[in-house]
């Protein structure tokens, strides 16, 4: 296989990790919403935790994106 083609395929495979980030963000917001519906008075206090979880979940997916970009541009 051509090296260039292999690089493209590898970068595409590495970008699949963003699917996990999507699932994670969906779970975080969905669970926050259902929790906030059950107990709206406690919702405001957990908002910073929601943002923290969102950022942490998004970051793990972006690590995969960084791998993809490294494959494409650094080698």
């Amino acid at each position: 296989m051509e090296l260039e083609a292999a690089k493209m395929i590898g970068a595409g495979l590495a970008a699949i990790s963003l699917a996990g980030a999507g699932v994670g963000i969906g779970i975080i917001f969905g669970n926050y919403l259902s929790g906030a519906m059950r107990n709206p008075s406690a919702a405001q206090k957990q908002f910073p935790n929601l943002l923290l979880g969102f950022a942490l979940a998004e970051a793990t997916g972006l690590f995969g994106l960084v791998v993809a970009l490294i494959i494409l541009f650094a080698f």
Binding site: P48, L51, L52, F54, A55, L56, E58, A59, L62, F63, L65, V66, L69, F73
Partner: protein, 244 residues
């Protein structure tokens, strides 16, 4: 410029070339934007604290809001013992926030989209937290790697995992900020390229996407600065209150 979405991350020299031995320390566009954001922070807090009126004007409100926001965050996550480190965490937060926000201006340069910048910030945090922990607890700080209530058979495995996760903290802290900023800006440039490519007929759809993405990116710019600061607080909490 529109053809390559990675072109926006180019660092180039402005002004004369300065060399310190083998190291190139000339003034670049990255250093220019660092200087701009630092000066903006200084100006805001100088004007914000000059006339302390009971009814604050806009700049004073900005300064007071950010101060109380970070002060509350440190108190909630790291406890009152972390009060002496307020100024460090506050300046860290404001610097990252302003670098992110200045990057949102079109044709400007995002300092935090370069891994060396974020890694230096994260390395400062990591080394500082280690020094604080060892000064406060001596070699008892190593107890951090031995969680209580773990069966003795599992302990060798757990300790190795804890050490690896501890050592990967600066890497994950820096890569998180860097990847978020770089991915967002690349995505915005890609959609901008679609607008140009599809022309006047089909370009409206990616244009509306790009507008929505700009809003999301401003949220992310704030959120990543916040996460950077709150993770610093969490690491500091580990060092200050061992086995809380």
């Amino acid at each position: 410029m529109a053809t390559n979405p990675m072109h926006q991350f180019n660092v180039y020299r402005i002004g004369p070339e300065i060399k310190l031995g083998e190291v190139d320390i000339s003034f670049t566009n990255a250093s220019l934007f660092m200087v701009i954001s630092s000066i903006t922070i200084l100006l805001i807090f100088n004007f914000g604290s000059k006339k302390n009126s009971l009814i604050p004007n806009k700049i004073q409100l900005l300064a007071e809001l950010s101060y109380s926001f970070i002060s509350k965050m440190i108190n909630d996550t790291a406890g009152s013992e972390a009060k002496p480190y307020f100024s460090f965490i506050f300046s860290l937060f404001m610097f990252v926030l302003f670098c992110n926000m200045f990057g949102m201006i079109p044709y400007s340069f995002t300092v935090t989209s370069h891994i060396i910048v974020t890694f230096v910030l994260a390395a400062f945090v990591f080394i500082g937290v280690n020094i604080i922990g060892f000064i406060k607890h001596g070699f008892g700080y190593l107890k951090l790697f031995v969680p209580s209530g773990v069966p003795i058979i599992l302990l060798p495995l757990i300790v190795v995992i804890e050490i690896i996760s501890y050592l990967s903290r600066p890497i994950s802290l820096s890569v998180r900020l860097f990847a978020n900023m770089m991915a967002g800006h690349t995505m915005m440039k890609v959609f901008g390229g679609f607008v140009v490519g599809l022309g006047i007929v089909g370009g409206w759809l990616p244009l509306s996407f790009a507008v929505a993405l700009t809003g999301l990116e401003i949220l992310v710019a704030f959120l990543q600065a916040y996460v950077f600061a709150i993770l610093t607080c969490i690491y500091l909490n580990d060092a200050l209150n061992l086995h809380h």
